[in-house]
Symmetry: C2
Subunit: 223 residues, 2 copies
């Protein structure tokens, strides 16, 4: 016999996620759920984003980790509002954790809120947090076949950031193959090539954020 605990859990999660979404919308927040494997560069991308977005949109971050507040410490140095969620053994963030975090942030002072999920290519993809859009990072050191092996997260994401392209020449990662594999899984997937070390692709990423913000809220960019 199989008891589908998972279905109940996801339904309860979705109700809370809908509530979070209402709060975000009323505060005019564009909200991203940022997912990747451990060490693919989520925090490095957000460090780059914090400075690149200055004068355009106000960034805020909720960051999830099993333990340590290292990512939050790195991001606070950028002078942006950050809330760290320490999940213990939980392998993903869920909507309820986000609901708790919201009370610690002044959402009216944020335009783009990025939720940096736990480093994991599997579990985070199934739990809606109330975000507008899911974005994932794949590092070139992980291999170009990953979209075929972890299809759910590639299917759920609207944008794929292929990071660490500065390391391309030292790997057997084929960019064409990776993109073909990703689009086999998700034909409409948008893809950006980025290096958080050299800064290549960061301005395209910032343009993407500004475009998504304008699409959601019209021309009324406050920052």
């Amino acid at each position: 016999m199989k008891i589908n605990v998972m279905t109940d859990v996801l339904e309860a999660n979705d109700r809370i996620a809908d509530g979070n979404r209402q709060v975000f919308d009323s505060n005019k927040n564009l909200v991203l759920n940022l997912m990747s494997s451990p060490g693919a560069g989520k925090t490095a991308l957000l460090e780059r984003t914090a400075s690149a977005l200055k004068g355009k949109l106000r960034l805020g971050v909720i960051v999830g980790d099993l333990e340590t507040t290292r990512d939050a410490d790195r991001l606070e140095k950028q002078g942006i509002p950050v809330v760290q969620l320490t999940t213990g053994s939980a392998c993903h963030l869920d909507a309820n954790m986000i609901a708790v975090a919201l009370s610690r942030l002044d959402l009216s002072a944020i335009d783009v809120l990025v939720i940096e999920n736990v480093g994991n290519l599997v579990c985070p993809a199934e739990f809606r947090l109330g975000e507008d859009v899911k974005v994932m990072i794949l590092s070139v050191t992980e291999g170009d076949e990953k979209p075929l092996k972890y299809p759910v997260i590639f299917r759920e994401s609207s944008l794929l950031i292929i990071n660490k392209i500065d390391l391309l020449k030292h790997t057997d990662f084929h960019m064409d193959e990776a993109k073909a594999n990703a689009r086999k899984t998700h034909p409409d997937l948008e893809i950006l090539d980025v290096s958080c070390v050299t800064g290549e692709g960061v301005s395209e990423w910032v343009d993407w954020l500004c475009r998504r913000y304008r699409e959601k809220f019209g021309a009324s960019i406050r920052a």
Copy 2:
């Protein structure tokens, strides 16, 4: 209210894992549960191991993936027995999946059975499969702070393989820092530095396997 579904799940899993372990012991199998992030090099290490172990110990592999049989295809080219488990959306292997796989393998023809877990630094660490020993891989491209951020898997593993050391010079990964962080989490952790590209460290890894086999079964290496 919190219902601790997880405790019941883990207890049921442990009972099945104990059964698997009895089957392994009676077949004189040394069994490893091999864990890492996606793309850290589990399959590459096993390709290297298959040839390096020839004439010493007979290798067999059970490999878990969400989708695709790519890893099994790669390993079958090495002429070793391989069973692929496709988990769908499950983020880790559990003891029951292994019990199912066992009927597909001639365990009496295997000395070292490696179970290549789903690429994930979180969930696999909590589910015993019936293995003798847990081994994990950390790739230098993932960052030297990972032992602090994902402590459970470092605590559960007996051996840490730090892979992709050929890429060290292109990263800001500090080997000393990584090892200090790992041993902060797990003081007795054994650590090997490996490159599956250059082959550096592979013979130390094979020595480690032979030693563990001898420790379990005395001098009676059959191969």
